[in-house]
Amino acid sequence: MRKKVLFLAPESETFYLRCKYLYLIRELLSRYNVEVIIGENPTLYQFIEKSWLSKFKEVSLFKAEEAKKNIPISERNKYLASTKEAIEDIRVSPANIELWKLLVLDDLAGSIVQEFHKLPEINEKVGAVITPLYHTNRAQGFGSYYQFQLYKTCREKGIPTVGVEFQQLSDYYYYHYYFYDFYIVKQESSSFFLQGKLGVSESQIFLLKEKYTPLLTDTTLPPQAILKLFEDIESFSKEIYSGTPLITVVHSISERYSVRRLIRILSKISMDFNLIIVTHPSNSVLFLKEREIILEAYVDELSRSKFKEMLNLDTPRHSPEFFSIFSDLVIYTEPAEVNNHLSLPENVVYYSPLRRKENTRTAILNDAQLISYVENKLRKDKKRKTFRECIESIIEEA
């Protein structure tokens, strides 16, 4: 009997990886039936249908339709009360306070799953369920909840659950990696991390051949998109090509603390440069757009800094290559946005004063490092010339 493999299509990865993971699935088809689970997202569905369903007809698609919405307050209270009971002996050091008081009273109430989706048939024919090992900043929406609905059912029925490393694993937020029977990772460091930090046994971890790495790595923007973005930022061309070094900070709402600290530190650097901040037009917290948050929340810092402009660009933040084209230095505060690239331009770094442990190639972890890095960079860049300056020099020489 051919076993069936269930594969939860991650929405965010579908976007970032442009469905490259399908080549992993294709490999399974000769031996297994594969059912891909997707959420009720019509755009995604159309995209998947158009781009690959026709090519892989053997793959069946399961649309996880919504089954129930909105748990009434009374029910939610019950869940919270039961959660309290389940964990009330766990205390947080050094204050020795009960964890439930901090977890249940506020945040968790908002984290109760509000949307339930239908599960595919999970019976003895199912050999394994594959879901992504999400990095926290991409663990949003349907998939991030649904994978645990799947996980629970599989656990009850003794079906193995497999987490696949798409993005590089976070060694900062890793609680959610505890929940799999097996792990498929693309790099050795991830395997060591799972064993060392989470206590996963070596036999539960499979290391993928290196040839798969490009399939599980973010794809940069196509050339047309880059051109379009250049048009969008045309109004800043004066700043960009003025010859004054340009530092671009790719903003992150969730890392506001680091951004604020970054702007404060940059304002202490005496060398000349311009500063721009990149935001995304659709990002918001409650009633505030990201752009509005910056203007109001960093009002003190910005007034004292060399801040020039804000670019409200409809471009993925994980495009360091793009930002590096027009900046002398690109600084991220969200490591996941730079970690999942095969190679990074030299002028891209990330700064994170609170995350001393994050596993990345380009980290600047404290304020002193940041100041010396930026000053060195700007000093070195002084020796470099703009394209126009090069031509001008050549012509003048001639």
């Binding site: 984290s111 663990a139 918001s284």
Partner: protein, 692 residues
Amino acid sequence: MKLKGKRGLFFVGQPHHMRLWKPVLERLKKEGMEILYVTTHTFFPFEMSALKYGISPLYIEDLLDEKDIEYEEEEYKRLSRILSERHRNYKVFNLFSPNSITKTLRHIIREVIAFEKLLEREKIDVIFALHELNRWSKLLAYLSFRKGIPFITLQEGAYYIKHFSLSFHTEYSTANLVWGQQTVDLLRKLGNAPEKNIIVGDTHLDWAIPKYKGKEKFYKKKVCKDFSLDSSKPLIYLIQGSGKEFLEYPLGAVLALMNISEDFNYILKIHPTAQRNYVDDLREKYEKENFKIVQNYDSYDILAGSDVCVTLGLSTLTFEAFAFKKPVLEIEHNKEDVYFANYGVAPLVKPQKLTEEIEKVLKRGISLEIKKNIERWLEYVFYKFDCKATERVVDVIKFILREKGFYSKKKAKPFVFKNAPRLRYSFNVVVLGNVNLIAETLNRLLDTINPEIDEINLVFPKSLRNLYMEFKENFQGKGVINFYLEKDGKNSLSALYNFAIENSKGNFILLFKEGIIPLRFFVKEEELKDNVLLGAVVIDKAGRVKHLGVTFEHNNVVYRLYEDVELSKVPVKSREFKALDYVIFGSRETFRKVGKFDERISDYYSMIDFTLSAHYAGIRNVLSDKLIFGMVSNLSFQPLTPYSHVQFYTKWRGKTEYNLLKYTEEDKVDIYELYNPVEWGLYHDEAGSPLL
């Protein structure tokens, strides 16, 4: 009370936290208090609430160093392992995605480390937060409790949902200052301590009402201009309840049913907790020339300028609409969710009939009956509109600081015994004025004592001089009974106990009030010699157990253990507590070690306060199974100060956690029940309770 030199810490949360506390903080600053504004890095930009007022808050993350970050990592690793095990094995966790917990867990640990460091580094006299219902203020409240720093909270908004977290509103606070009796009643139903809730009124309305009074036309013009509306038409203010995620209010469905008239202007105010994308969707679907949807615009400008308010669900703003004296209509969408109409303060309207109802209200106003109901209801909800809520809050804060200052310096006064110990037991009964009760107590005592070696002392306050004379005359010649009149006019129970103790001639002293009688008395002298105070099990006239010891429940307030069954059904055993009540029995030496009863403490707490002092002086408080007393009637006393409960909890801050010191497996069940005073079934009730 001078506030100069005092330092207050305010936790900056969401904008309304700042709005409600701002008038108080300004006032405190004016009177000399230094306020430290503190916030943390979290998803919602808390810092913006302070920046709006030109205040740069201190980020607790700034306090962390390399060592702290290493500690944080170790703790995250430890807790991740333990929690994930539970997460896998408890069904309830099906509803919580580990993806959503992974970040929160990290931040919680960081905040625990940083807040603790903050309170170690800064000298803080008092901490303010809007409430202790989110993780940040709960943590601060907990730490301040541990460190004995007063923690003062306000009411967050109108409370109408019986939400889980509301059950923990008074857990670590010294005082929670609320708008009106309605809140006290609701919080009490949800298991909160009425002792900690003090009614003061709404600090926001203190300035909002005078700001808008008489300027309705101005604000109508302003709002209409801002939204390009014709200001000659009536302005209808549609108020949405608190967020779709909380109330499941079918806003879209109701809007679709609503008949929108061209004769009016409408502004629909979306609750600030709703997501921006949700609001943008609504705008796209429903906005018209005379129908505007807003979220981030001053709610009170619109309220002041509106002619009629229509509530779609429950919101604090609707409650405030009544305070602004606006006519309010309540939209009916589901009979079970009716709220204001149940109180008789707003007519219930079907969405399809809205225009007709608005026309009626505009033409005739609201009925006299509704007006009367509103008047009574507003008093119940908001207490007073005298613009003195801020003043009352400041008064309570000063009171608490004064008490804290007082008790940090003062120690218990020593007893001055007037007689040498020449007898065995002194049975001291404080007389409160009920002749029948005194007689019952006396009769029983005469059967209990050994007249050769024991004495009975009846202690009368000065106010009962006549009764004292009468008793003295009637009982003359019965040598074992002594009558004492306290001549300084100190009426408090504590003062009378002190007076009784100082006049005792026994080696061992018993204290209780009239109306309490010994039923079983098998204590031997040697049991009283070793730094111990004994308490008694107390049963009522019907033989039911009314007192099995004193403990502190999850709000850290006094909780008297009892079992409302006959004594034979309760396995009574000796147990050690932090405090005792009703009856105490100890050696003269033990009383001497503790020092006098605190005469400033309210009568309710006099014995509890004394035995708590004894506990912290190294004396064991044991509820003895050899002492069973009866309670003929339970007399109550007047508190000595207006905030007497708060006074007690300020004095004992940090020392009133659960206190049954040596419990058995059986008791663990009691503890568990004690810790869960709220029956979760309550939440199935409809919101609110019948009032009028």
